[in-house]
Point group: D2
Chain length 327, copies 4
């Protein structure tokens, strides 16, 4: 699970070692920047924002490598509405279609994350419902023969269960299997509760583990794998320390305002950290905030993402036909 979203209001990111994985939020935080193009499409039940970082200045200001970032926000997903899920799935398929090459596509889909930890199981559960075809060759059902692109997939596990960096493991598989690209699906840790399970980001820049825990770990990108990498991410948890920090900031802001000016009573980072430590205490495992119904949410989202991938990767096959071959 990579570090997730949301610009921090009170403190510069470098102080808390947090930055946002969502380009849409980074851009909100810094405003208009030369060499960063933004296109927003608002619909009744969702918004699509396409950010393209084109210049070195854009890269630096947003803290994001050059490339395209598409974000779909659909807050109604929190109501587990199947019709909306299908609508957003179709939008996701269309956006994936724009980012995928039309020729020579033979991708390896990598479902990142841990089967055994529900909020982290999004990637493996997507792979589980994917139409995998690379091995079919002449044995493909007649109705599919000649119309299928060769798709392969892997759920490589996580460092804690394999002892191998995911980037390293994928690099080995890519070197041998020689896919035309890698599509990585991962659960993210959001920084904002309202992004939880309602926002999907697709980017052609891959996955760049942030600072904090993941610092110094290799990314999953064209640079490390040698082929283009498209990454699909959805926030499924918020770190407990994020919301404790937010609570402290919220009160601190209120008090500042009451005292007559934003700048007067500013809590120091040290004081904030002390309070966070006091509230969270010595931790049991890695504390996170997640809905009690997370198993069901992750199941819904995995079905949605797998469906969108199947559609985008196999444009020559009808949905009805795909339905016959996947769980």
């Amino acid at each position: 699970m990579a570090e997730g979203s949301k610009a921090v209001r009170f403190f510069p990111p470098e102080q808390f070692g947090v930055r946002t994985d969502l380009a849409v939020e980074a851009r909100e935080a810094v405003g208009d920047v030369p060499g960063v193009e933004v296109q927003e499409e608002k619909r009744e039940r969702f918004t699509v924002t396409r950010v393209e970082v084109k210049s070195p200045e854009g890269e630096q200001r947003l803290g994001k490598p050059r490339g395209r970032y598409v974000t779909i926000e659909a807050y109604g997903l929190r109501n587990r509405n199947r019709a909306l899920e299908e609508e957003v799935g179709a939008v996701l398929a269309a956006e994936l279609g724009r980012l995928l090459p039309s020729d020579g596509l033979a991708p390896l889909v990598a479902g990142l994350g841990n089967w055994d930890a529900t909020p982290d199981a999004l990637g493996p559960r997507v792979v589980d419902q994917l139409l995998v075809t690379r091995h079919l060759g002449h044995s493909a059902p007649p109705e599919l023969r000649g119309r299928l692109r060769p798709v392969c997939a892997i759920a490589p596990g996580v460092l804690g269960t394999t002892g191998i960096e995911t980037a390293e493991l994928l690099a080995g598989v890519v070197a041998r299997v020689r896919p035309s690209m890698v599509i990585a699906v991962d659960a993210l840790a959001a920084r904002s509760l309202n992004r939880l399970l309602t926002t999907i980001q697709v980017t052609d820049t891959g996955i760049h583990p942030g600072s904090g825990v993941a610092q110094g770990r290799p990314g999953i990108s064209a640079q490390t794998l040698g082929v283009p990498v498209l990454a699909i991410g959805i926030p499924t948890v918020v770190h407990a320390l994020t919301i404790v920090g937010e609570a402290i900031e919220a009160l601190s802001e209120e008090l500042s305002r009451a005292a007559g000016g934003e700048g007067l009573m500013r809590i120091t980072p040290e004081a904030k950290q002390g309070l966070v430590d006091r509230v969270l205490g010595p931790q049991v495992g890695h504390l996170m905030v997640t809905p009690k119904e997370i198993d069901a949410y992750v199941g819904d989202l995995a079905r949605m993402v797998a469906g969108a991938l199947n559609r985008a990767l196999q444009p020559g096959v009808e949905m009805e036909v795909i339905g016959r071959y996947v769980g």
Copy 2:
């Protein structure tokens, strides 16, 4: 999942509609009370506290019905230490042994909670590993015949998945099956992070859903079921609003102290509620704080509780023999 533990420091429970399910915490909060006996046994790696509420005054002051409450605290359980798990399991078996009648025992074990929501699956997973014997009769293996107490078990589901109040469903089964008692196992929502997955409470007073969400719902007790009820509970989550509230209180306390006196700058309940709402926003499902590794923790604890129950319920059978018959 019943409402859980920890006395609130700043506000009287009735204001926030929270009270603690852990008698040990209620007693800490109110201090010595006539008619409440407390016995504490500290060991190297765990503490056992036995509270007995004997008087109407004790009932009122602690907010707990008359009866016995045994709490085992073993903070090392957060390290997933198998040796400690076995040590605590043996202590739990011994405490259960003290609370169970020595004659005529024919219990129904009820694994409360929801299979499909990991932190709530403790009860069903305990039932899954229980030595169930009521149906064996003459078909019991020779080595067990005549030495087995008749144990039956059910994982009745939760209101949201059955449409039936658990108390109502159990009352129906009890009326028909006529067990000598019910032993209910349930995951709790703690109010304190350090109780998470490290504290076990056993009480002969049953389960009394607190205020808040569960208000007005029937308890699982001798009163509703017509037979004695022993309840075993372990906190597996903390509500997100609890820790946000704690963060606000912590800062508020610091500021009061800085301002020179506890009583000077007290945040009002309304202001606190406003801040909590602002931080948590419109919620996705029912937000809770839990370790990312919750699946593994619940698995460990279910094994520990099931093992302790098997030992306590079948004192005539060696562990090695029980191991042959349960998963």
Copy 3:
């Protein structure tokens, strides 16, 4: 899992203690009988057969209590075709609609079987996807209020995991919850491999455990529960001894034919039993024949049956709306 289908060709049922649970097969075996009405509807991809047993003579000849038996056969389901699944689901919903009362419907759906044994998990997995409404009352979403029938559900477990006869457990719940009827969903053991995962039987006579292992165990019917019982069953396994027996019969038949007459060389039941014992040897658990892909098949069928039940039980609610409330 109740005993399943198919008339035995060589030996009278009483000799091997097997009979068929599928009325359609019993009727095939005995031919036309007064007081037994049969209506068959053949479609391109499935066949519906409606058998009604109306007379004592019919009961005796078919070995089936008076009542209605609807069988849907769709051999294409073995190809895991999602479009056919939806077609058959719609047919099942329509047949359920004919068998359900139009007024005062407030059913308890009982998902029989064992969560932990894949081929036996059909019932619990159906309950998992059911729209449960009995508890909603005034808290139902506005769009549903006043249009919902009160449905409740339970997955009671099996004798081996509860120590309680399922009939006994359900009788207790029914006496307390007072549903208007019980709808029991169960996996069956077929006697014919071609019925495996392709045949659905619905009957208003309940479940009557056959002879053999289940002999003497109470049925799940109006007689034992006090309310009408509709049973939905699908064969998910064939006992290993059934196919071994079939193999021996097949060779025996061939040899008889080769020897010039069916009647000349008949294998004796004792000889057959001896050969079956020799082939199967001392058994590891309870041997059954099932597809390696059984997890996926049971998942498909559970979704199909749950969908059909949701449609039939809530005719006032659109499918799209139901999709919002179930997994």
Copy 4:
């Protein structure tokens, strides 16, 4: 799942395209062969047989590549006896110890098979309980530092879910990660019911997919991976066609005997195939025979194999300590 065990009595292997994966059975079938050493150790509850194929003649006669084959047979495992499981686990650990190099061990454990198909999930479930250490380095707990061998692990999935040959995928990972060897764990398809879930084979020759379905697929061996391969296999299913074939042979043998001589009435392979086809009919998926309780059996065996591997791979660490770090 590789093709499994047992020499065919009636027909030469090449006729039915079956051969045994168990060297102990191949050797039983052919008797004493020069260049094949056999050592058998019978104990009260299990037997260990060590076969070493040393000559080209041995290779040819047994149909097994040169190397060591250790088989542990413990028929009591079918009774799910935890004490026996521990006894056999200790024997397996000792046998693994003899086959592993004492220096420079840095293995990749590959859990072959499919998470989603219970009888095929043995490998992935072993990996799930393995002590993985390669990534710990300086962050290892003080009590373990300096005493751990670097173990990594992967559950690569199966061809049907990845689209990639397992041998190809592992070769890619090995080339990158550079383990000193691969230890592959896999579920086998037995040819004999009494081997089901009761026999463990360890061989230093890797996995060589047999004829039949797997024909022409690459093996998992030093030849394909470039490092030594140790394979651990346990039969978890028997193909349905195997037991149907056995039933036909059994009757055929009886009749031959009755007719006064083994050689007189021999069923032809064509006739046998015709009868098998008639009994099994057009198949639903890939039919196999397995105990209804297969989920529990596979769970037990995965725990046993993982425990034995942990012991054998980390001789410098006490079991009690390992227990703290694995599920």
